[in-house]
Amino acid sequence: MSKTVQKSRLSRSRTRSAWLFLAPMLLTLAIVAAWPLGRTIWFSFTDASLDLMGEARFVGFRNYLEYVAWGDGEGQYYGLLADARWWRSVWNTILFAVVSVSFETVFGLIIALVLNQQFRGRGLVRAAVLIPWAIPTIVSAKMWAWMLHDQFGIINDMLQTIGLIAEPIAWTASPDTAMVAVLMVDIWKTTPFMALLILAGLQMVPGDIYEAAKLDGVPPWRVFRKITLPLIMPAVLVAVVFRALDALRVFDIVYVLTPNTDATRTMSVFARENLFDYDKFAYGSAASTLLFLVIALITITFIMATRMDLEGKRS
């Protein structure tokens, strides 16, 4: 006797509704995400140009790496992987991501710890902290560009007043400080996000743990190291990964604050320049594809590593 699992009409109609309800969203995502991604990857293997996209021909890995022999035993590598400017952009991107996320984590943790205390005006402080996050990136870039202005900027004025520097610094124009400027603005703008995520983690730590520690006479610093930090670690890790993925695709701030300089050009900026400014559409697509691969790898690793609770079964 075989038992066939028979779905009732209710189950069937609900499954049908599910797909009907999902269809518009899935279709939209297919057109704005899946298909364009596929095309980008395809373009990266062609000789497409901005005006002749339709006539793109397959050229294999030429945009990524190609060895051109000059015939006399000599030759040269071409393609992204042999392009020093691209490697510079990779380095810039990694540097930017590592430094900005580290600082944001530390500052975010400090702000979160402050906001987790009971004090008068906490709501207002929290609102104030949120403001840099809400300001459009472009606007922050411009505001800081003005504050960092070499001649009329208030930052140079402050630093000179307190005697830290003798001469004004050309923050955004000088290759030595351009990355510092970009990092400064990004850390200022994104720390609130980090702080809020960590704060959410902090607020899930039950208060009686602190009471117990206080009764046992454990000093505050040890309470933080031994109790608070391990408990909020998961929240911090999630926040760090989210931010890191975001930092790896950074575009706006660099593009507006320090246009056209090797010192800060990131992978996204590199890709867009090639796509639309230098008319090297296929080359730019290849750069986009590589960035996508890096981010996809990190995302997959993260999801695997945390065995993320996708269906909310644990709650």
Partner: protein, 335 residues
């Protein structure tokens, strides 16, 4: 005519079988209670009758019609949920009218039906309130009212009293019992883990355990002639005493069962001699816990007051006509 028939009904979640081979016939107008320990599958069985769970094996018929593949709303069934499940953003009136609107009744008829049900449950005064503004008991009545308006053939309750406090629970229980009387043609199916609710409400009780039906019968049948040791232990309060060892062996059984109310206690003479461990005085009754020599702990129920105290020596005599004997598998041995 049977209104609800279950034939070899079973239910599995993946490879886990939670109900096996359920066969039941519920008569029209009958008040049937499914009772059993938590997790035994009562809710699942009720929800399969409602149509909220797929039936993975067997057949369900209502009034002779196969129902396995009929949408819940088309089965002529109404259900009262444990958490009431009122729509929080709708008024009481809108809550009760929602199902009728879905059935596309006209406005006048909806109003008439809602008002009739409201009157029956004495909730007319709250029709314009939101559920938030009602007490637990009032919400429960609205939930019942919402079910009544649909004029169902079968009325399902899933532990409707478990969210109420003890005093309200008794009142509401009486109300549900009288509702059963006022709707003589409607079959009531009521799920609970509380055997007192089962005994007081049911025309017939279905005892479930571990996904199978242990016994079906009137409350008195279950009390007097339990079909298994499980039922004997589950029905009746305080619980039946189960004794093993020599007492049972003397009767050729694995287990000897005797209810606390079927044992008489005397200070100087009786079949068993023992020492009182503890007495619980409820006013109307006294429960005396006795450690009987060579038998084990025995609980005795005495009507009214009793003057025995801990450490007193007492003598017990079980009523031979009320002894239940079970074999090693928990099956009754005809006495």
């Amino acid at each position: 005519m049977a209104t609800v028939e279950l034939k070899n009904v079973s239910k599995s979640y993946g490879t886990v079988e939670v109900l096996r081979d359920i066969n039941l016939e519920l008569e029209q107008g009958e008040f049937v209670v499914f009772v059993g320990p938590s997790g035994c599958g009562k809710s699942t069985l009720l929800r399969m009758i409602a149509g909220l769970e797929d039936i993975t094996g067997g057949e369900l018929r209502i009034d002779g019609q196969p129902m396995n593949d009929v949408l819940p709303a088309k089965r002529g069934i109404a259900m009262v949920f444990q958490s009431y499940a009122l729509y929080p953003h709708m008024t009481v009136f809108e809550n009760m009218a929602f199902g009728l609107e879905q059935a596309r009744l006209n406005k006048a008829e909806i109003r008439e039906r809602v008002e009739k049900a409201a009157k029956m449950l004495q909730i007319e005064a709250f029709l314009d309130r939101k559920p938030k503004q009602l007490s637990g008991g009032q919400r429960q009545r609205v939930a019942i009212g919402r079910a009544i308006t649909c004029d169902p053939r079968v009325f399902l309750f899933d532990e409707p009293l478990s969210n109420l406090d003890a005093a309200l629970r008794v009142d509401t229980r009486l109300e549900i019992a009288s509702l059963g009387k006022r709707l003589p043609d409607t079959t009531m199916v009521y799920v609970t883990h509380d055997q007192v609710e089962a005994m007081t409400l049911a025309d017939r009780i279905v005892v479930l355990n571990g996904g199978i039906v242990e016994q079906v019968g009137t409350p008195m049948e279950l009390y007097e002639r339990p079909a298994s040791q499980f039922v004997a232990g589950f029905i009746g309060s305080p619980r039946m005493n189960f004794l093993n060892g020599t007492v049972a062996a003397a009767h050729g059984a694995e287990t000897y069962g005797i209810r606390p109310e079927h044992i008489s206690l005397s200070p100087d003479a009786g079949d068993w001699r023992g020492r009182v461990i503890l007495t619980e005085r409820l006013g109307s009754d006294t429960f005396v816990h006795v450690e009987v020599d060579g038998v084990g702990p025995v609980n005795v129920r005495i009507e009214g007051r009793s003057e025995v105290h801990a450490n007193d020596e007492v003598h017990l005599t079980p009523d031979p006509a009320s002894v239940h004997l079970f074999d090693a598998k928990g099956r009754p041995i005809p006495g």
